[in-house]
């Protein structure tokens, strides 16, 4: 049984009526802010790709220049050892930032509220990745300092 009172005069829930346009306006404000964020995110992403490309070109150049001296082997080895650093610190963050900028673009085009959550999720992925990498580096640094301290107090060197 409905709880509607048939004798009551028709009323409009004022706060809900006010909230409806407000939410839409603020969703549009979010779109404006994200549209201002996108070019900077895209720029940093492109710079990341560019830096990774320059790094690869430098490795190839060093390896090729070492061929006449017969030292191509160590050069290639150094390049292969440094490649993971390029992947971890340049390529993957650049890809995640590119993904974030693309998600913002998708939200701006479709104006679909669900795509806003996807964009926010994309930036979360970037921060999570950055946080995990920062945590690993911090642990490695702390480990290296501890090992150095043990060596120092153990051998006095």
């Amino acid at each position: 049984m409905s709880e509607l009172n048939p004798y009551q005069s028709p009323t409009t829930p004022v706060d809900q009526w006010e909230a409806l346009p407000g939410s839409e306006i603020e969703l549009q404000q979010a779109a404006v802010v994200l549209s201002q964020t996108k070019p900077w995110v895209r720029l940093l992403s492109v710079l990341g790709f560019l830096m990774f490309g320059i790094m690869i070109l430098a490795f190839v150049g060093i390896a090729l220049s070492a061929v006449p001296n017969g030292a191509a082997g160590p050069s290639v080895l150094v390049s292969v050892l440094f490649l993971p650093f390029g992947l971890i610190f340049l390529l993957v963050p650049a890809l995640l930032l590119w993904n974030y900028a693309s998600r913002i673009a998708a939200f701006l085009v479709s104006q679909d509220p669900q795509s806003l959550a996807t964009a926010v999720g994309a930036q979360k992925s970037f921060w999570k990745y950055s946080g995990v990498v920062a945590a690993i580096i911090t642990v490695l640094y702390a480990g290296a300092i501890l090992v150095r301290l043990f060596v120092f107090f153990g051998t006095g060197i």
């Binding site: 028709p10 009323t11 409009t12 809900q16 909230a19 409806l20 407000g22 939410s23 839409e24 603020e26 969703l27 404000q29 979010a30 802010v33 994200l34 201002q36 964020t37 070019p39 900077w40 995110v41 720029l43 940093l44 710079l47 509220p113 669900q114 806003l116 959550a117 926010v120 999720g121 930036q123 979360k124 921060w127 999570k128 950055s130 946080g131 920062a134 945590a135 911090t138």
Partner: protein, 164 residues
């Protein structure tokens, strides 16, 4: 004069009612995702602030140690050393401290949004995030221009040397 018809029964536009829960659920999803973003942002901000303060402290300590060495320049920090330490501090501020503070600010805005759960606080969090990316972008552009100028100067010197 209002255009509303007083004889019409109270009606609610269905489309509007459908769009409201959708908007609210979107903010709910985004709020949940921002809540999961906050710890990582805070962690990186704290790490950045600690590292920048550590770098500034170690730069001042190293410079003062060199200044107190026998045969070194008199006084705590003198001449070129002041310029070098000042440059180090400036670099630390620009590349580590300011972005970390902006990140901290973003984390604070997320925390405000999680407390208030309003659309305004959501937009404020996004704006804080925009400020961070804008700052990083401007710094990156400035560094690129400086690199470009350095390369141009190097090529000019090489060309001048070859012409002589």
């Amino acid at each position: 004069m209002s255009n509303s018809n007083p004889f019409q029964s109270g009606s609610i536009p269905e489309g509007s009612w459908e769009s409201q829960p959708q908007t609210e659920s979107t903010l709910h999803d985004s709020t949940y995702l921002l809540a999961r973003t906050k710890p990582w942002v805070r962690f990186i901000a704290v790490l950045g602030i600690v590292m920048s303060l550590f770098a500034v402290g170690s730069a001042v300590l190293t410079a003062s140690t060199f200044a107190r060495m026998p045969g070194g320049p008199p006084g705590f920090l003198t001449g070129m050393m002041v310029v070098q330490v000042g440059f180090m501090i400036l670099i630390c501020l620009l590349f580590y401290f300011v972005p970390s503070v902006l990140l901290w600010h973003y984390g604070t805005r997320i925390a405000d949004h999680l407390r208030e759960k309003s659309s305004t606080s959501f937009v404020a969090a996004l704006t804080a995030q925009k400020s961070f990316w804008k700052y990083l972008g401007i710094v990156a552009l400035v560094v690129m221009v400086l690199y470009g100028l350095m390369l141009a100067a190097m090529f000019s010197f090489i060309m001048l040397g070859a012409m002589r």
